[in-house]
Amino acid sequence: DQQVKQNSPSLSVQEGRISILNCDYTNSMFDYFLWYKKYPAEGPTFLISISSIKDKNEDGRFTVFLNKSAKHLSLHIVPSQPGDSAVYFCAACSYGQNFVFGPGTRLSVLP
C-alpha cells in the first residue's frame, strides 16, 4: 500500500508558465514533507520542505502548499524554465521516523 502517491507520472509545461506537481499521502501521522529533484544519472537533490504547522513555504520560484485535511501537497514552479526538466519526488515522514518517497513525476519544460 503506497503511503505517498504521485498520480501523474509525467507533466509537460511551456517555458515561462506555471508547473504544478501534486502529491497525496494516506498516513495522517506524517508531519514533515520534502520535495526532491532528480536529473538522470544523479542522486536526488533537496528542493524545498514544509512542516505540518504551516500551509505554505516559498523559496524563490518554488512554493509548496500543504492541505492537511485533504492529505495533499503541491509544488508550484513559477516561471518554469527548461532547466527544471527533471523527475520530482515527494517524501513524507513522521517525527523520528524514516521518509517515505512517492514514485515521482517527470516534468518536461518545453522551450
Binding site: 514533515y32 520534502l34 542522486g43 536526488p44 533537496f46 521518509f99 518517497f101 514514485p103
Partner: protein, 119 residues
C-alpha cells in the same frame, strides 16, 4: 564541501555472484541511509545508521544483504548472492540533525547512486 561519494557508479554481474557498494557520507553527518530505487519508483529505505549503529534495518533482506559502517563514517552494502530482481539503483544518503552542520531541516543529501544490473 564534498558531497556524498559512491562507488562504483555502474556494476554488471551475473546472478549468484557477490557485489559490494561503498559510500562516503558528507563530513560530520552522523546519519547514513542506504536506499534501493527500482525503475519508475521512488527510493525505498534498506537501512539507516546513526553513527556506527544500524537503528533501522527492517527492510533489509537479511538472507542476502548485509551492511556495515565501521567507525561511523564510510559504509559498505553487500549482496551475496545477487538475484535478477536485485537490479536497481542503490543510493546512499547522509544527514545531520537540524541545527547542526548548517542544516535547518531534515533533508538528506544523496550520492549519485550505483546502477546494478544482474544478468
Amino acid at each position: 564541501e564534498a558531497g556524498v561519494v559512491q562507488s562504483p557508479r555502474y556494476k554488471i554481474i551475473e546472478k549468484k555472484q557477490p557485489v559490494a557498494f561503498w559510500c562516503n557520507p558528507i563530513s560530520g553527518h552522523n546519519t547514513l541511509y542506504w536506499y534501493r530505487q527500482n525503475l519508475g519508483q521512488g527510493p525505498e529505505l534498506l537501512i539507516r545508521y546513526e553513527n556506527e549503529e544500524a537503528v533501522d534495518d527492517s527492510q533489509l533482506p537479511k538472507d542476502r544483504f548485509s551492511a556495515e559502517r565501521l567507525k561511523g563514517v564510510d559504509s559498505t552494502l553487500k549482496i551475496q548472492p545477487a538475484e535478477l530482481g536485485d537490479s536497481a539503483v542503490y543510493l546512499c544518503a547522509s544527514s545531520s540533525p537540524p541545527g547542526t552542520s548548517g542544516s535547518s531541516s531534515y533533508e538528506q543529501y544523496f550520492g549519485p547512486g550505483t546502477r546494478l544490473t544482474v544478468t
